[in-house]
Symmetry: C2
Subunit: 268 residues, 2 copies
């Protein structure tokens, strides 16, 4: 339970992380903490200390070693009104849910995705941040009203392709790995960052830029990533079909390396 | 206290009202309920019954007859993930804060406002709704870092003038009352609606449309309204000064008529 005066509830004034826990270990915790700290800084929310959070996370995983961990950090309570309180004590919230049971062929054979009708708004001050203002994602997810659709692909108001409803998007196009830039909208997830860094370190061709729908529909490969699903190739999107996924397979091998890779650059 | 699994906290998946209570009476409650119901419908959130809410509100005002009442209705709890649960039980939250102590000359002599730097994003699916995704308002309010500024005026990404950080904006220009249209962003408040209806019923000239900054700076009068402040004329905005406010005075007389007026049309 949290206070009804917490700004996380009143204004969505907070940030969160979704973390996969297996065998009592939080996957990619160090990357999640770095991103949490960046997101808190972007909203001027004091970020709880790494040791404090690690200790709380360990206690949680001792009780329940497997599941999807949600960590929320809000600006805490304050006086009535939008103005940020002068002295804030951030609220820390932990929760854990059972591991989701996705059909196994989604990871191996790819998923069917659809294009969402809703367009993401552009707000550079909030772009990239995993904050608690997620009504656009709620409306987008409501468009996936058929179980056959594993994910929905979102465009922004300028018809740039941005991301999935709960994932980041990559495509392989003309021999290059391409992922949409997130300077105007979208959430920059840690799996996206891992892939970007791995590709850069391996000197593979990469572009982070505006992506049009036409290009997506003509891509050689498409895949979505997040911390819970890992990587899903898209095998069908609005009548267009793909198969094979050689680049995605190579990247998935890397993502499944549980130790991950150090983060040397940050791209958003 | 509310559950940490409430979608109001997790996604800002809910709507709210801010209601002025005086002498044990909630001002304009019937208008607030109509707007609550419209906002719930826009997000497909089941709206609690009017009698239920009225009863809870009366109980609250018996204990504390004066203050600013906040009513929040969220989509309630559901499974992990953005998708709306099939069966939802809305969460109802009531809170009451002391009446704010604004300088008395703000209502009589007008306020000093500033232009905010942040631009409102455009999202027609959420425009007009008083929902819980309010990070833009939080960032805007943070720009009012000097007590002399009573309000901040917000433009959208296309540089249309939209509203105040917590109020709706009107101007008098070439003998007409003008208020920005809210089809792309902004919150359509009940005081704005009252004024629109009163002006229409009195066959006074009114325009609801796109408004540019240049027009605002050349207006004959400017004022902001909401349910708590009532009406504040703007006497200074970025070096431009106004005085007199004859139209605002006339409208304030109407707003202070405690019975209000029936709502016959809805404009957003």
């Amino acid at each position: 339970m949290i206070s009804i005066r917490d700004r996380g509830l009143l204004y969505g004034d907070g940030v969160f992380r979704t973390i996969l826990a297996r065998n009592g270990k939080a996957q990619l915790w160090h990357l999640h903490y770095i991103k949490l700290k960046q997101d808190c800084a972007a909203l001027n929310i004091p970020c709880p200390d790494s040791d404090l959070l690690s200790g709380q996370l360990n206690d949680l995983l001792l009780r329940q070693p497997e599941g999807v961990v949600k960590l929320i950090v809000t600006r805490g309570e304050g006086k009535r009104g939008y103005a940020m309180p002068t002295h804030t004590e951030s609220t820390i919230i932990w929760d854990i849910s059972p591991l989701p049971a996705y059909p196994t062929d989604w990871a191996t054979q790819g998923i069917i995705a659809r294009l969402c009708q809703i367009r993401l708004s552009q707000q550079p001050r909030l772009a990239g941040i995993k904050h608690l203002n997620r009504l656009e994602n709620v409306l987008a997810a409501a468009e996936l009203n058929d179980d056959k659709f594993a994910e929905g692909i979102l465009l922004d108001v300028d018809n740039n392709v941005i991301e999935g409803t709960r994932s980041n998007l990559f495509m392989v196009s003309h021999g290059k790995l391409v992922t949409p830039g997130l300077s105007q909208c979208g959430v920059a997830g840690v799996q996206r960052e891992r892939i970007i860094n791995w590709v850069i370190q391996n000197k593979m061709p990469l572009q982070i830029r505006e992506v049009g729908l036409d290009e997506v529909m003509h891509a050689d490969e498409l895949f979505v990533v997040n911390s819970v699903i890992g990587l899903w190739s898209i095998r069908e999107l609005e009548q267009r079909r793909w198969s094979g996924f050689p680049v995605a397979k190579q990247i998935r091998l890397h993502l499944e390396d549980a130790d991950g890779l150090p983060v040397s650059v940050t791209v958003s």
